[in-house]
Amino acid sequence: MRGRTRSRRGPTIARTFRIALLAVVTGLLLFPFYWTLLTSLQPRGAIYKTHPSLLPEAFRWQSYLEIFQLRPFDLWLQNSLLIAAGTTALSMALGIPAAYSLARFAYQGKRSLGMVVLITQMLPASLIVVPIYLAFLRFGLLESKIGVILAHASMTLPYAIWMLRGFFETIPMEVLEAAMVDGCSRLRAMLRISLPLAVPGIVGAGLYVFETSWNEYLFARTFISRGENMVVSVGISTFIGEYTVFWHQIMAAAVISALPAFIIFFVFQRFLVQGLSSGAVKG
């Protein structure tokens, strides 16, 4: 049996220590986000202090309302969600077969194909944005969510493929061979056996794609200018005015923009660590 979490291993003291350590580490890691939250609650004049207080001194919630009033923030959230979901769907639909191909087959040019997709990621984004803009211009893909989805998918597919490949490779051969003995075709073996076993990998890759698309800034801002398609990552920077930075608003927007991704992750994280379904392979 594989991969169950190591529960009740070792003495309770050691475990308590580990949990305490986790709490401390998490706390430290989240401090910058805590700081963002704190700043979003400050009134406007209180930001610049040489020794800022570590604890909240004010609870000015209005910033959270203001951002929705001052900007179509809900529209941005919606657009970001649609684009991220679209990118995830596309990347998974195309990436899973490709990864499976790399993991479970041996054929000419396999290694090269794997490298080729990765090579496309090695050029700086700032360089390729102009030619892509030109191509999108010619094909009418500017100012559209589809264009951004396509661009994001091209950015995330290679990573998704490599991640998924890694997970597909951990599925023991015996499982698939057993299925083949039972008369499964190769495709059916892939769909009915391998996929369910690779759920942690698929969820992981899917979350990666979602997050990357959600946060992506350069392509989104270059390909979209009209208000109706604006996304969160670009829209937030509109709080950085030409002459002033509206700190408390931008931090409030920051907190809100992190929420959807966090919630989705929270919902899906249990699939990440689910072990293989029991009884799949004997000992």
Binding site: M1, R2, G3, R4, T5, R6, R15, R18, I19, L21, L22, T26, L29, L30, F33, T36, I47, H51, P52, G95, R104, F105, L113, V117, I119, T120, M122, L123, P124, S126, L127, V130, I132, A135, L150, A153, L157, W162, M163, T170, L176, E177, V181, R186, P200, G204, Y208, E211, N215, L218, V232, S233, I236, V245, I250, A254, F262, F265, F266, V273
Partner: protein, 315 residues
């Protein structure tokens, strides 16, 4: 169901190597790969080719109207190789990537191992760990700039008040501190992805191996060395490869924090590419730096995969 009819079954991997057994080519693996290849190629093929071609031309925007974009061969490459900033950026890029990847890996491993425990509320912790990654780059950068501010930043404030330092540290304003700060922020922003992957990898280590180690009387450290680390070998490689590629060309963090400054101290190749294109308007030279970036990344990836990858041990 009785006798296996498929002639393509072997006991040894790769189990579906049709090419050896049959005379005609097996199309299935190619077909599986094709849609992804098309999608990526449709968007990126033209830009990649364009970038390479432009790097061989003189493409200085303010002069294009009058002199066009003549072919100049490797002149752009020669020009950048003669610029000290280029070599400096190359060196810092290496330092930045190695520093960030190592820091990120150690941190992720620690967090993944801590998260591997079973306890109530671990779902919440697992989700919390994702937060640095969930925050948009612009926001993360602003927050860090704020925290690192020499006069009003909380980091200096805390360090001064607790007496750890006597004078405010110019986190983003002195060349060496800026390099450190940029690496720190990158680790913070990028580690969740690695932690998740390593966690999933830890899940994949068969329990029997740990039990066997216990039976043999291994200590916690022994278990770590002989079961955990080897079990994570391929996942670790994957993590290092993917985050390495990402970080090598990571632009947003550095650009938003220091814009490559102070001076040229935190300029990496991608930052230089951007500045050449959007500040100096020299597309030719920018493309040349971009191609160099691609070649370097390619060589390292190739080496890493070639010498690091191990076939997964089968039970």
């Amino acid at each position: 169901m009785s006798v296996p009819t498929s002639p393509r079954l072997h006991a040894n991997p790769p189990f579906l190597s049709a090419a050896r057994r049959r005379t005609r080519v097996d199309f299935l693996p190619y077909l599986l790969f094709l849609p992804a290849l098309l999608a990526i190629g449709a968007v990126l093929f033209y830009p990649v080719v364009q970038a390479i071609l432009i790097s061989l031309r003189a493409y200085y925007l303010p002069k294009v109207a009058t002199s066009g974009t003549p072919f100049i061969g490797l002149a752009n490459y020669r020009a950048i190789s003669e610029a000290p900033e280029f070599w400096h950026a190359l060196l810092f890029n290496a330092v930045y990537t190695v520093g960030s990847v190592v820091g990120l890996y150690v941190l992720s491993l620690l967090v993944a191992m801590l998260l591997n425990d079973e306890f109530r509320g671990r779902g919440l912790f697992r989700a919390l760990v994702i937060v640095p990654w969930a925050v948009p780059y612009v926001v993360a950068a602003l927050t860090w700039i704020w925290i690192f501010d020499i006069q009003f930043g909380v980091l200096n404030s805390v360090l001064l008040r607790t007496g750890v330092i006597e004078k405010a540290v110019p986190w983003l304003l002195s060349p060496n501190w800026a390099k450190f700060s940029v690496i720190l922020s990158t680790i913070w922003k990028q580690f969740p992805f690695a932690a998740i992957m390593l966690l999933a990898g830890l899940q994949g280590i068969p329990r029997e191996l740990y039990e066997a180690a216990d039976v043999d009387g291994a200590s916690a450290l022994g278990r770590f060395r002989y079961v955990t680390l080897p079990g994570l070998h391929n996942v670790s490689l994957l993590v290092i490869l993917l985050s390495g590629i990402q970080i090598f060309k990571l632009f947003t963090v550095i650009y938003l924090l220091t814009a490559g400054g102070p001076g040229h101290a935190t300029e990496t190749l991608v930052v230089q590419t951007y500045l050449e294109a959007f500040s100096t308007f020299d597309m030719g030279r920018a493309s040349a730096i971009g191609v160099v970036t691609l070649v370097i990344t390619l060589v390292f990836s190739f080496l890493l995969i070639r010498f690091g990858y191990r076939e997964e041990a089968k039970t």
